[in-house]
């Protein structure tokens, strides 16, 4: 069985990528299982999806903790401890990263024992689809090629089927993108992984608790601030203080209240929480808020 884990953000088409991959494997004569996992969060929050591919019926369930292939669609997640896309990677794992950086640079920064591959999918998406924000086809194509036994024909059929079903246009552009990625990558040789035997865990008996203890009552007002949403950001807004005239429009428009006012009404962005919607940059009348692509791995 091949276990593939895909990482990205809500809105980037990670779930669809896992579906295309599963369908392509199915069209190549394999059994497949695919599903996403996300919390209550919305677009922008880290999400993970899984595809299992096997010659025999897939009876295994649940998230994949020891993946054969990891596909990272969004490199800004690499140093995010909550998303932890490289978790569970070992010398038998192949890690693919959508990145602008060279493989050697990535390898140096990530210290992986796994084999590492990269391709700038965002750039290819921009070339073919005119936008780099939706990675469903690109990530699926990369995964399908790396896993090896999926044919280009089956992959193209799966892209067509999944995108048509979701009413997504520009099918031909997506097929061209698929071909290019397929031709740019090569199957990885996956080192065989010892199948783990899973023993049943002990049953935990739940006892009736008092209502004061059992009811989900929150007694700490405003504690949501402890949760950081800064890792949702793909682009970072940066205020050009030399020109900012303190008109406060950005402060009024930020839905998350991530812009506060310092002395002299100086707007200050809280990067721990700014989700990178870029409303502030769009709305600043003098265009005094620049947007910078978040660098993935810190050097």
């Amino acid at each position: 069985m091949y276990r593939i884990r895909l990482h990205g953000r809500g809105g980037q088409g990670i779930k669809t990528a896992s579906q295309i991959l599963g369908t392509a494997a199915f069209y190549s004569g394999y059994q497949a299982q695919d599903f996403p996992l996300y919390g209550a969060e919305r677009r922008g929050a880290p999400i993970v999806a899984f595809t299992r591919i096997s010659e025999k019926p897939v009876l295994e369930r649940g998230p994949i903790s020891s993946p054969d292939i990891i596909l990272v669609g969004d490199e800004t997640l690499l140093d995010d401890p909550q998303a932890a896309p490289l978790c569970g990677a070992d010398e038998s794992t192949a890690v693919f990263i959508n990145s602008t950086l060279e493989t050697s640079v990535l390898q140096q920064q990530l210290h992986l024992s796994s084999s590492l591959l990269k391709l700038n999918l965002t750039e290819l998406c921009i070339q073919h689809l005119n936008k780099g924000t939706v990675l469903s086809t690109a990530l699926a194509a990369a995964g399908a090629r790396l896993v090896g036994m999926i044919t280009l024909e089956a992959l193209l059929k799966a892209v067509d089927a999944e995108l048509s079903q979701q009413g997504i246009g520009s099918i031909q552009e997506n097929l061209n993108l698929t071909k290019e990625i397929f031709q740019n990558l090569f199957p990885v040789v996956l080192k065989p992984r010892k199948e783990k035997t899973i023993s049943p865990s002990e049953i935990i008996l739940m006892e009736q608790a008092n209502i004061e203890e059992a009811a989900p009552i929150i007694l700490s007002p405003g504690n949501m601030i402890l949760r950081k949403t800064g890792n949702w950001r793909v682009q970072r807004p940066e205020i050009d203080y030399e020109h900012c005239n303190h008109c406060l429009i950005c402060y009024a428009r930020c839905p998350d209240g991530a812009i506060s006012l310092g002395p002299d009404d100086k707007p200050e962005i809280d990067y721990d929480h700014c989700k990178g919607c870029l409303i502030c940059a769009q709305e600043c009348p003098g265009h005094f808020i620049n947007t910078v692509r978040e660098a993935g791995v810190e050097s």
Binding site: G11, G39, A40, E41, R42, R43, G44, A45, G167, G169, P216, I218, S220, P221, G222, N223, M224, I225, L226, R227, K228, T229, W232, C247, L248, I249, Y251, A252, R253, C254, P255, D256, G257, A258, S260, L261, D265, D270, H273, C274, K275, G276, C277, L278, I279, A281, Q282, E283
Partner: protein, 310 residues
């Protein structure tokens, strides 16, 4: 009867405190969240929100809450009955159980358009009949957002939703015009009704500042551009909100003592296409061919509305 004067003129006048912290799980660029944030800046911390199941239920996810005030989660149909119960309990304790006045809370309902227009409307009507002393905040993202954007009675004619997609037999997608919740509420003559937009923070803040000084039922509809459901880049949330007002599709107004006043009139109304063409939910009106007939129906509907006021 003159419209109530507003106390705020500039953004600098907005209440400096935030009553809602960042860190919530709502989408980046959620227009409704900015609306609620600005409203709560004005209403402050002594507020108890009764929330109907919907997107904004994600605000408070155990064990975290972004609110400085209180929050009670209810079913989709019951945020107003919950508000009635809380109000009654507070009143009884204030009158008979020596609860100090400073412990009193402003009771508020926060509900989506689905809850407000559909399953919750009967209970709201009952509460308006009793002139329940509360503030109602309906964030109108024009569909059932939390469950994946299905049709609500507030989905506008011509928009595609999950349950009203554009098909051969239903070329418009949504076949009916948006329910006029403002007029439905108005028929019961509550103390105050207003529509607000996050793009108009001063107008919004003035309306909440006024409502705060009143008693009885004070009803708000907040236009809530929804990048996820409407299909636009999150950074365009406020641009979309502005176009909704400039095309006349979302009138900004208030009702007080029998009088309706438009507080932000579009100077010269833009054609509705300007608003429609930026959103994926209306794309079928432009591609593969332009559906002038459907767009014309939308325009006439807007023109008809304004013919009473222009």
């Amino acid at each position: 009867m003159t419209a109530l004067a507003g106390k705020y003129k500039k953004l600098k006048d907005l209440h400096p405190e935030e009553a809602i912290t960042p860190g919530t799980g709502l989408c980046a660029g959620c227009g409704g969240l900015d609306g609620l944030r600005l409203a709560l800046k004005e209403l402050g911390e002594n507020v108890l929100i009764c929330n109907a199941a919907g997107c904004f239920t994600l605000l408070s996810v155990y064990p975290f809450t972004p609110l400085k005030g209180s929050w009670l989660y209810t079913t989709m149909g019951a945020p107003v009955p919950a508000a009635q119960g809380v109000r009654d309990a507070l009143d009884i304790r204030l009158q008979h159980r020596e609860l100090p006045d400073k412990e009193d809370l402003l009771v508020m309902t926060v509900a989506g358009d689905g809850s407000s227009n559909d399953i919750g409307l009967g209970a709201t009507s009952a509460a308006l009949h009793r002139n329940l002393d509360f503030i109602y905040f309906c964030y109108d993202n024009e569909a059932y957002g939390n469950t994946g954007f299905q049709l609500s009675a507030a989905s506008p004619y011509g928009s595609a939703t999950q349950t009203a997609p554009n098909t051969e037999f239903h070329p418009a997608g949504t076949e009916f015009f948006k329910k006029d919740l403002f007029e439905i509420w108005k028929a019961q003559k509550p103390t105050y009704i207003a529509t607000v937009s996050p793009r108009e923070p001063i107008d919004l803040s003035n309306k909440f500042a006024k409502a705060k000084t009143m008693s009885g039922s004070r009803m708000f509809i907040c236009m809530s551009p929804c990048p996820t459901g409407w299909g636009f880049d999150p950074k365009e949330s406020d641009l979309i909100a502005k176009l909704a007002v400039d095309t006349g599709m979302f009138p900004i107004k208030e009702y007080f003592e029998g009088q309706v006043t438009h507080t932000k009139r579009p100077q010269r109304r833009l054609p509705v296409e300007k608003f429609l063409q930026r959103q994926k939910r209306f794309r079928h009106l432009f591609e593969p061919e332009c559906r002038h007939d459907i767009i014309e129906n939308i325009q006439s509907h807007v023109d008809e509305y304004w013919s009473h006021y222009e």
